[in-house]
């Protein structure tokens, strides 16, 4: 892929992503954009009283991608966004590394911020991805947080 080629707006990938690149791609979609809300989810190295060395993700890939695409379309319609992007990593992610990035672009800040919050909350409910924490005491699948 050429460096200047814009990547798909919704992706599931093993490799890390660049927030700057995603925001540039979002901004390239419209010059009417007055506000961009973003959410970056990261891997914590401590959870439930235990050190966590890394997190392993499993996903029902085809459905997860399709649900994330629907989520983006729903958010654009619900909040009147100009554009939105969602990138989620799978595979193994070490403590401190990026997991998920969501960006919502709108004419004004309220829609951008509310849409961003809505998308991460909905993603957790609708998208078939599971995380397992790898700790020195053993591995444990994560019970969802409200």
């Amino acid at each position: 892929m050429a460096d200047n080629e814009i990547k798909a707006a919704v992706r599931i990938q093993h490799e890390d992503f660049s927030q700057d690149e995603e925001i540039r791609a979002l901004q390239a979609s419209s010059k009417r954009m007055g506000g961009i809300g973003t959410f970056l989810g990261c891997a914590r190295d401590f959870s439930e009283g235990r050190d966590v060395s890394e997190i392993s993700f499993d996903a029902y890939g085809s459905m997860a991608l399709s649900e994330m695409s629907k989520l983006r379309t729903d958010a654009i319609a619900k909040f009147g966004l100009l554009d939105a992007r969602i990138v989620h990593r799978i595979g193994t992610v070490k403590g401190g590394e990026n997991i998920v990035f969501i960006a919502a672009g709108a004419e004004h800040r309220v829609a951008a911020l509310e849409a961003c919050r809505w998308m991460i909350d909905e993603l957790k409910q609708r998208v078939p991805i599971w995380k397992k924490e790898i700790t020195p005491q053993g591995d444990a699948w994560v019970t969802p947080h409200p």
Partner: protein
């Protein structure tokens, strides 16, 4: 044949990520679920969602067709 997939914690409890189940005319999702639940009770303790051919399914009386793909899933924990 019906293709049944498992992911994450459910796959771990089943001990497999994929099973093939023979298709019978008139077979419904709830029939498939009951059959697998009897074989893998611990896995089905945590099953909360079902997907049929890549879409969330709410009606367990939905009829299956040959070559359907069914996924029994626990609560998601992405993000």
């Amino acid at each position: 044949m019906i293709k049944v997939l498992f992911f994450g914690p459910v796959a771990e409890r089943v001990g497999a990520t994929e099973l093939k189940v023979e298709f019978h005319a008139g077979m419904r999702v709830q029939d498939l679920r009951a059959r697998l639940q009897a074989l893998y009770p611990a896995a089905f303790e945590i099953v909360c969602f079902v997907a049929l051919n890549g879409e969330h399914l709410l009606d367990m009386s939905t009829a299956l067709t040959d070559n359907s793909e069914v996924v029994f899933m626990s609560k998601f924990s992405g993000g």
